[in-house]
Amino acid sequence: MSALAAGLALLAAATATGFVWRSRQGVAHAARPETVSARELGTPALGERATLLQFSTEFCAQCPATARLLGGLAGERPGVEHVEIDLTRRAELADRFRIAQTPTTLVLDGAGTVLARIGGTPRRDDIIERLDRTLRSHRVNTIR
């Protein structure tokens, strides 16, 4: 293979990788069912009806914009909390939740069960649909 052809192949491979990566960013995926407690996170409380749990680090270009998006959505919906955890000093949580990139967002129902997982900045329509579906059909935390 000529050097030029190899260079073009490299460019094509990088381009294909980029498209695949981008197609998976911000999309909600079904998550392994597990329960999160406020205590293990070190936060006062989770949302009564749902929680948007965002994992960030100090060096995270997309985290501030994600926090604004999720905070806004939670603010519009009573009983929904946006909880942001900085993993920089809490590596054990990164392992516990198998965080592979930041931001990673977990959508929890009122009982703290993980319903969906989103890597990268969530796509707005996607997360609104997930969140509103959760509010319509899942358990509310009535234990105070």
């Binding site: 050097a3 990788t17 990566w21 270009a61 942001e84 590596a91």
Partner: protein, 154 residues
Amino acid sequence: MSTPSADRTGIDPRGPRFGAALTSGLLLVTVVLGLAGDDATAFWLLVAITLLFAWGALAGIRRHPFGILFARLVRPRLAPPMELEDPRPPRFAQGVGFAVALAGVVLSLAGVSLAVPIAAAIAFFAAFLNAAFGFCLGCQVYLLLVRARLIPQN
């Protein structure tokens, strides 16, 4: 304990991506020249790229030659950015690029054949993904360092 995200004093996010585009162009040329057998040119091109990465890692992304080029020539022609971003992840990515490019230079001097085009190809992949798709290598590597317990945990 949850910490709210805050924009630190920020930079135009398009600046590092412009720099990454120029850098990936140089790296792709390095790969092709190295594979075509023009070892000397490819080697010195990689040395120059290594020095550029070092500059970015030490002086920061604003004072990188491509950052300065962006600020003077490109930015005035663009609408203001919608938001600013933390300059530390791109700077960290410059450090990662420096390590990869330096490895290529050192291995080449040690006689490892194809060290230059291979190192350049790896660095190209990361720089191109950043330039064309906004992938933040610095952010990704930082998380890996946190999980490897290489970031002080207080």
